[in-house]
Amino acid sequence: MSAVAQNRKLKFAGNNSTWRRVLSPTGNTGDAIFRVLMLFVALLMVGIVVAMVFALATDSMLSIRQFGFGFLTSQRWDPIKGEFGALPFVYGTIASSLIALLISVPFSLGIAIFLVEQAPHYIARPVAFLVELLAAIPSVVYGLWGIFVLAPVLRQYVEPALAKTLGWLPLFSGSITGIGLLTGGIILAIMVTPIISAVVRDVLAAVPGSQREAALALGATKWEMIRVVLVNGAPGIAGAVILGLGRAIGETMAVTMVIGNRPQISWSLFDPSYTIASAIANEFTEATGDLYLSSLVELGLILFLVTFFVNGVARVLVWNVTRKSGGVGRAA
């Protein structure tokens, strides 16, 4: 850390102006130029995000003025009549993401527990890589696979079985097509599992070994010991799940290809639905008229704000857990 120490000494010793000190604590002109350049590029990132909010807000102004808050509560999405309400998309996004989390969270926890607590490292490392490869498969490939493999399987086997056994629930009634909310949710589940399990792995690995030793010393079985570890990592696991939620909300192509793209709110998981992201992907290039386009941009703005918030919460939760493992003793 001598560079920092040296910087600090010079900062206190010099009688330059504040700006001089910020730009060139070492008093070297080359350093000043280099620092300004790097700072400029870094601030460019801030500029991009600001520009993004500004551009999305500007272009959705027309729709915001026209519909106000009612945009979020109206069910009507009728481009021909010029009526635009986002509620079906909000519903489709939330419902498909929840289905995805319901399926993927238990699996992700299981995978992370197996890789951190049980598998010897010569098995854990290659297997972890294989699971991460699931995250490397492009969204459009999942979509293709969903259309031609998953949807037919669901239509022929899974959905009829669900309808037969649980058909008395409104969730599992309705016509069986293989294309709809359930298919979208399952594809999303496969896509977010590697992401959630990777973060949970980091969180579990950050739980101090002394917790495990203490549990085992008290006579806990392996599973009871794992439960202690899970409780210790709970906030981080919550963060991982929320991170997965953020990903599921913004996921576009795969969902667009299997969810059916019909702006409706239906109880049935078999019925076609529509998400915010897939509405933008599907209708943006076809949007005729300023109000139509503006409404789609407003959907983009909503998506931006929601994912911004969700990711922010997730990061704070995950950071708090993984940072604590840096040495300082854990507070009980």
Binding site: A3, D31, A55, F114, L134, V140, T252, M253, I280
Partner: protein, 282 residues
């Protein structure tokens, strides 16, 4: 000494433990199984329509064959544009985060970069549409490349930062002690020491954006011809796969699978090579 006996509750606890640990194993098995099923299915469906003509031809109407030559060229052009724009910017941001911005501004920039990573790529597409496509009044390869670069920058920035932080402080101290100014230390000592790591990070970022479709839909748009200028719409493998997948023709479906096989070879190839190169270090 009394003999050890297990009470029924003990046996229960052990049973639960065995059950649950077996379940975690099954979860892992299922995830790896899903990966293998997907990969083998792509290979199985893709290999049938794959031949040399398919790789160099451009799309033709249904029944006349055609290929993905223009999409492969288009994807490479888009990757090139985004790498030229995104890699230098991403690496500079990484250098800033690791070597310079340690204070409050650095924290803010790190937060912003993390935020950019989480923005859905479709929103990036809408943004680029608003700032480039609308003013220019047409879709273009440039717009597509910029959209991909925006996705690439935060990934490259964070991996560069991580890699630079792995360089031992003694190297910086040694160079500073010899009288080198900070910028010479960073560019001449620290960055070269981390170069292999930065390069693998860049490769992973390229693998990631080569699979992106959503940000290209209304920036690069797509085309049925070979690209002639960066100022006009351009084809890409991913958009081509999407268009063929949602078409009603069996022949195009088969071509979508073959194109997917090509795309997956590229994406997984990069991932596996990177894994192989970094296997010993991390």
């Amino acid at each position: 000494m009394t003999t050890m006996t297990y009470s029924s509750s003990d046996r229960m606890r052990r049973g639960v433990s065995t059950l649950m640990t077996t379940l975690t194993f099954l979860c892992t098995l299922l995830a790896v199984g899903a990966l293998l099923v997907i990969l083998f299915y792509i290979a199985y469906r893709g290999i049938g329509s794959l031949n040399f003509q398919f790789l160099i031809d451009r799309p033709r109407p249904v029944g006349e064959g055609g290929g993905i030559g223009n999409a492969i060229v288009g994807s490479l052009v888009l990757l090139l544009i985004s790498s030229v724009v995104g890699l230098p910017l991403g690496i500079c941001v990484g250098i800033y985060l690791s070597e310079i911005g340690r204070g409050r501004i650095g924290g803010a920039v790190r937060f912003i970069v993390d935020t950019l990573t989480g923005i859905p790529s479709i929103v990036t597409g809408v943004f680029v549409y608003a700032i480039l496509v609308l003013p220019m009044k047409h879709f273009s390869a440039m717009a597509g490349g910029v959209a991909l670069a925006l996705i690439m920058i935060p990934i490259v920035a964070r991996t560069t930062e991580e890699m630079l932080k792995l360089v031992p402080h003694s190297m910086r101290e040694g160079a500073l002690a010899l009288g080198a100014p900070q910028w010479r230390v960073i560019l001449g000592v620290v960055v070269p020491a981390a170069a292999p790591g930065i390069a693998t990070g860049a490769m992973l970022a390229i693998a990631r954006i080569s699979g992106e479709t959503a940000p290209l839909l209304f920036t690069a748009f797509g085309s049925r011809f070979f690209p002639e200028s960066l100022n006009e719409p351009i084809a890409s493998l991913t958009v081509q796969i999407y268009n063929y997948a949602i078409s009603p023709y069996d022949e195009w479906h088969a071509q979508a699978w073959a194109a997917t096989l090509v795309l997956m070879t590229l994406v997984l190839g990069i991932n596996i090579i990177v894994r192989f190169l970094t296997r010993k270090k991390f």
